[in-house]
């Protein structure tokens, strides 16, 4: 049976985009309440003004009109005041974010070794760390904080970047049958599955069309059918800024890593 794709109303009136998750619901409700209250207050002021203007000297109607206007103004003040008061007390109160749970280092659980090493060796020198942002390079928290990942998600993004590429912009993985690689760069962007922006022209490169098929865990067989396009995609994905931007898009600014492989999700969480 053929089914037509239907997009159900994705935005609030006025073009305000809907957000997902518990925090998103609160944001959506706030916007909706703001919109509804604004419209109601606007209507109340108009109604009160008209009532006053058409009172023809009737003191009772004048008083009623004034009352409508003042009530509406107080309503607007309360609406804006709620945000201003919370923001004045602590700007963090106006920002909703869920705490991120990260995996404990193996050593911290079983008490073996130096803590930051691998699970099989039980530690090591502690110079690295599983799914931890490195102290330098493009995957470091300092570098990613200035990117689209933002300060809240930079640390986890750095951890993902570290396990995916060891912080090396030229990392290559997921080899196709012809020796070309499908996953490239800091976040190992799968070019057989994703488009990418060309950093020199700004154009979107349709990288999947350079492959015979998509490289997946269940079907790791592919070949490059358009070498010229593949080379363009390769250069774009090896560009640190482009790779981070693409990872931002795919991970929703570092909040959702479900598109990455099971090993990475196991090490870093989704």
């Amino acid at each position: 049976m053929n089914q037509a794709a239907i997009t159900i109303g994705t935005n609030l009136p006025g073009g305000i985009p809907l957000s997902a998750g518990p925090c998103g619901w609160i944001v959506n409700f706030y916007y909706f309440a703001l919109l509804a209250a604004g419209i109601l207050a606007f209507g109340a002021i108009v109604y009160g003004g008209l009532k006053y203007a058409t009172s023809a000297g009737n003191a009772s109607r004048q008083s009623e009109g004034r009352s409508w206007i003042w009530s509406a103004l107080i309503g607007i003040l309360l609406l804006a005041g709620a945000y201003l008061i919370l923001y004045t007390i602590n700007p963090g109160l106006t920002s909703c974010s869920l705490p991120l749970l990260s995996a404990l280092p193996q050593g911290a659980v079983n008490g073996i070794g130096g803590g930051n090493g691998s699970s099989t060796t039980g530690g090591g020198s502690g110079t690295g760390g599983r799914c931890q942002a490195p102290s330098s390079g493009p995957c470091s928290t300092a570098q990613l904080q200035g990117s689209c990942m933002g300060s809240n998600n930079a640390q986890k993004a750095g951890g993902v970047c570290n396990v995916e590429s060891s912080g090396n912009p030229n990392a290559q993985g997921d080899k196709c049958d012809d020796g070309n690689y499908a996953s490239i760069g800091l976040f190992q962007i799968n070019l057989s599955a994703n488009t990418i922006s060309d950093p020199t022209t700004g154009q979107t490169l349709n990288c999947p069309s350079a492959f015979s098929n998509r490289y997946t865990g269940s079907n790791p067989h592919c070949t490059v059918t358009n070498q010229s396009l593949y080379q363009q995609c390769l250069a774009a994905a090896k560009n640190p800024t482009t790779n981070i931007t693409e990872a931002c898009l795919l991970s929703k600014s570092g909040t959702n890593w479900s598109l990455w492989g099971p090993a990475t999700r196991k090490a870093c969480g989704s």
Binding site: L34, G38, S97, S125, P169, P199, K238, L249
Partner: protein
């Protein structure tokens, strides 16, 4: 009095309409915290003129003094479009990349066994830069692998084997 109230009403209506318009156009998002997707900053287009360092050698500053090395910009295999990543050496088992913003080097081991490949990569690193082991230990060098190659070592800085601070020994 009546005139004042009418004018006041019109002014308030105009302000309310303006504020509503501002909110609807997505001006500020007071509660736009973790649940929302941020706006992506513009991507560097790489159109800015890039002048690589000239000369046969270049010096990288470290806390223990400057290290003079071969100018690898002269022999680089590839410079990224944003001019931050310089590919110094690449084989089927490792690659050596310089990251300009913080003057760090990254040696990526892309095949097992680690001991053997790391030794080869370290030798290539010293040779490409034309520096001694002592000078190499002054530099900010990360040696690591990816989760595809070995999930156990991914994310760990193996370090240069001949440096006291980076002598992590894979087993």
């Amino acid at each position: 009095m009546r005139k004042t109230i009418i004018i006041g009403t019109v002014v308030v209506i105009a302000i309310a309409a303006g504020a509503l318009f501002f909110v609807l156009r997505g001006g500020s998002s007071p509660a736009g915290g973790g649940g929302t997707t941020g706006t992506l900053p513009p991507v560097a287009t790489g159109t800015a003129p890039f002048t690589p360092p000239t000369g046969a050698t270049l010096t990288i500053g470290t806390p223990e003094g400057g290290v003079v090395m071969n100018n690898f910009y002269n022999t680089t295999r590839q410079v990224s479009a944003d001019h931050t990543a310089i590919l110094i050496e690449q084989t089927s088992t490792y690659n050596i990349t310089y990251y300009a913003p913080d003057s760090s080097f990254n040696i990526l081991i892309e095949a097992a066994p680690f001991e053997t490949v790391r030794a080869e990569a370290e030798q290539a690193f010293l040779q490409a830069l034309g520096i001694s082991q002592a000078d190499a230990c002054k530099l900010n060098v990360k040696v690591g692998t990816t989760i595809d190659v070995d999930p156990d070592y991914a994310g760990v800085n193996l370090g240069l084997s001949f440096c006291a601070a980076g002598a992590f020994q894979p087993q």
